[in-house]
């Protein structure tokens, strides 16, 4: 399938025949569920079960592959000088025409079976595309064809062969990940040369392991596990199991809970390793490529134009170690990763906080700068504490009055926690301005710093309620594009004079330099 010429052949082309097998398997996966349900229904009728099963098997053998062959036969793509044409569907023919200069991103991804075969799925996105789905999806391309198509669509010019020994794999996971990343499967064809990137970063073993062990997903996994487990138990009459858990006693119960947490932590770590093994960020000109994944391998491409903001996030555990992750907010559709990251893309899953700025500068040159952060005035602390403590106090008082025996007054302990939360919230909140960037820091246990370039801000607002007016405070709000819609980033209770300064900084009418901090 590989064309040594290094260009996409002219004329309509079909995808690789392995498409048929993959589609059939997909169809069967759906059929299995139907069959399970149907057997239940048939079981209650007079038709012998074996006959019914035979019928379904025949149906699956004929219908699944038959449809797949038809779909393969009727799916063609063609790259002309200016456009990508995709013709698809069996009965209701669908034709998609995408002008080359409208193409914003071409993402390549492959599941496990596809990786073994060396075929991939190519998603083509345009600027005006819907946020739900890419403009065109071509499944079953061999990797070689996909690379040629991608190169042609993105206008990437081959700059000759990769220099010998350009990559040296010194690191342990790189020795595993690199061959896996470069694993091309059975049918992939020759690699297509795209030249050296302007910037490349790879996640090393230490980073990967630390990222895995400190991922904040333990609790998500635990919640999902408990939810799924209890559903399953209920379905299969596991009431006895619940009774037995109830009879365990305190110590055994705590041990069980701790065991569950450890297992979830390990599972979260494993999924993180699987998602980020072979993680690499590359920049070629004005385009970023983010590559990652052990089983489901994907290469996401992002034009720098689409990036709207940078987010540096420190989860609580990572904050203790001085590490953070870096995300970007992008406009329009972006590939849904394993964890359904729809609107922001991970630029780096685990980097030392003090190395993050250098990474951002290298990956997104000139995108944001680093304004010095200013905290909020002392008088704002009252508002932050009240915001947390007022509802808790009210609830505690109600509980104290209503709960018999006076146990409700224990709720007042919560008030103290709320006060601490308010103080933490207050002391994290900060803002900073430089000539081109507004930075906002928020958070309680975890900390998020958003860097918003002035030229990407859509609107800027500040609001004041009467109490804020009295205390000369205001809340600043900046709106950016994120995914298909907008996102408003807010910092509450800034010194009113500073809120005005931020607004003046954004004002296109006043061409002043950085406003006084």
């Amino acid at each position: 399938m590989s064309d040594a010429s290094g260009t996409v052949p002219r004329g309509p082309r079909r995808v690789h025949k392995s498409f048929i097998a993959l589609q059939t398997m997909k169809a069967w996966r759906q059929l299995v569920w139907i069959v399970v349900v149907e057997i239940g229904l048939v079981g209650s009728s007079r038709v012998p079960v074996y006959l019914a099963i035979l019928g379904f098997v025949l149906l699956a053998l004929i219908v699944g592959p038959g449809l797949a062959v038809l779909r393969w036969y009727r799916f063609t793509y063609e790259l002309t000088a200016r456009e990508l044409h995709v013709h698809q569907e069996i009965v209701f023919r669908k034709q998609t025409f995408i002008p080359g200069r409208r193409v914003h991103a071409v993402d390549v991804s492959a599941g496990l079976v596809e990786r073994l075969l060396g075929v991939v799925k190519v998603s083509v996105q345009t600027a005006g595309g819907s946020t739900e789905a890419p403009e065109a999806v071509i499944e079953g391309l061999t990797l070689g064809e996909a690379e040629l198509l991608r190169g042609a669509l993105l206008g990437m010019r081959s700059t000759g062969a990769r220099p010998e020994g350009a990559r040296s794999y010194s690191d342990a996971t790189e020795q595993i990940a690199a061959p896996l990343n470069e694993f091309r499967g059975l049918l992939a064809g020759d690699p297509s040369e795209v030249g050296e990137p302007d910037f490349e970063y790879r996640l090393d073993t230490k980073g990967l392991l630390l990222a895995a062990t400190t991922s904040g997903r333990t609790w998500i996994v635990l919640g999902a596990g408990i939810g799924f487990g209890s559903q399953a138990l209920e379905l299969f009459g596991g009431g006895a199991v619940f009774d037995r858990i109830g009879a365990l006693g305190l110590v055994a119960g705590i041990a069980l809970a701790a065991g569950l947490v450890v297992v979830s932590w390990a599972a979260a770590a494993l999924t993180t390793v699987s998602a980020y093994l072979g993680f690499a960020v590359r920049r070629r000109g004005d385009r970023l490529e983010i590559e990652r994944g052990l089983v489901e391998h994907q290469v996401v491409s992002l034009s720098l134009d689409r990036i709207q903001a940078v987010r540096i996030h420190q989860g609580f555990v990572r904050r203790l170690f001085g590490y953070c992750e870096v995300h970007v907010d992008t406009a329009g559709f972006s590939a849904k990763g394993a964890e359904a990251q729809q609107t922001h893309t991970v630029l780096h899953p685990f980097v030392r906080l003090d190395e993050a700025p250098a990474l951002i500068d290298a990956a997104l040159p000139g995108f944001v700068d680093r304004p010095a952060l200013t905290g909020l005035p002392r008088r704002a602390m009252v508002r932050y504490v009240l915001r947390w403590a007022a509802p808790v106090t009210l609830a505690a008082l109600l509980a104290g009055v209503l709960v018999p025996g006076g146990w409700g007054w224990l709720g007042l302990i919560g008030v103290w926690l709320a006060v601490f939360a308010g103080v933490a919230d207050y002391s994290t909140a900060a803002w900073g301005l430089s000539r081109g960037t507004l930075a906002l820091r928020t958070g309680l246990l975890s900390i998020t710093v958003r860097c918003l370039p002035r030229r990407r801000l859509q609107t800027l607002a500040y609001s004041q309620d009467p109490l804020q007016r009295l205390a000369r405070l205001a809340s600043a709000r900046a709106a950016i594009i994120s995914g298909g819609s907008g996102r408003t980033v807010m910092l509450s209770h800034v010194d009113a004079a500073h809120a005005y300064a931020i607004r003046d900084w954004y004002d296109p009418g006043s061409q002043r330099g950085p406003a006084a901090g």
Binding site: A331, Q458, A461, S463, Q464, G486
Partner: protein, 178 residues
């Protein structure tokens, strides 16, 4: 800090908002009160219930019909100039928004039956991330904001929001109306 924007909404907005509030809030409340009164006459309810209902209706109706539209009108200010749209709105929480004209993607006017009856229209200004609504302007001013012509100096902020769009012959809107 820049001075507050200068232009007010059309003053007929007070009437429209009052009427709308009358129909949507006050009328159902009055109906409820009437039902209570009938039940009291029939001897089903204590007289205290209709009296409380009547009092409540009077207070709520007074606020939503009489006071709120006036305060809202008094607080609303907008201004459109060569570079930006400046909005100030809100009764309790006052919000001031700055929308650079280059960020504006499209401008719609909208008017329900009541608004049309009084010759009013609202203008919706959409950016890629947000939508802003100037709720009640006279139809002429609203059209002026919408039409793709560069505003004239004399229009006092009632300019067009899409200055760079191509102009079409025969649509000489957006001139001064003062």
């Amino acid at each position: 800090m820049r001075p507050d924007p200068q232009n007010r909404l059309d003053s007929r907005a007070i009437t429209v908002w009052s009427l709308t509030a009358l129909l949507s809030v006050a009328a159902p409340l009055a109906l409820g009160t009437a039902v209570c009164a009938v039940l009291w006459v029939l001897g089903v309810l204590d007289p205290i219930v209709p009296s409380i209902a009547a009092l409540l209706t009077a207070v709520v109706a007074g606020v939503v019909v009489g006071v709120a539209p006036r305060v809202r009108y008094a607080r609303w200010r907008y201004e459109v100039n060569d570079d930006e749209i400046d909005l100030r709105e809100g009764v309790w929480i006052v919000r001031r928004t700055l929308v650079p004209l280059v960020r504006v993607q499209h401008v719609d006017t909208h008017a329900g039956p009541m608004m049309r009856r009084f010759g009013l229209a609202g203008v919706k200004i959409a950016t890629a991330a947000t939508v802003h609504d100037i709720p009640a302007l006279s139809v002429e001013v609203a059209d002026g904001l919408r039409r793709p012509h560069r505003r004239t100096r004399a229009s006092g902020g009632r300019g067009c929001l899409t200055p760079r769009a191509p102009s079409r012959a025969g649509r000489e809107g957006c001139t001064s109306r003062s």
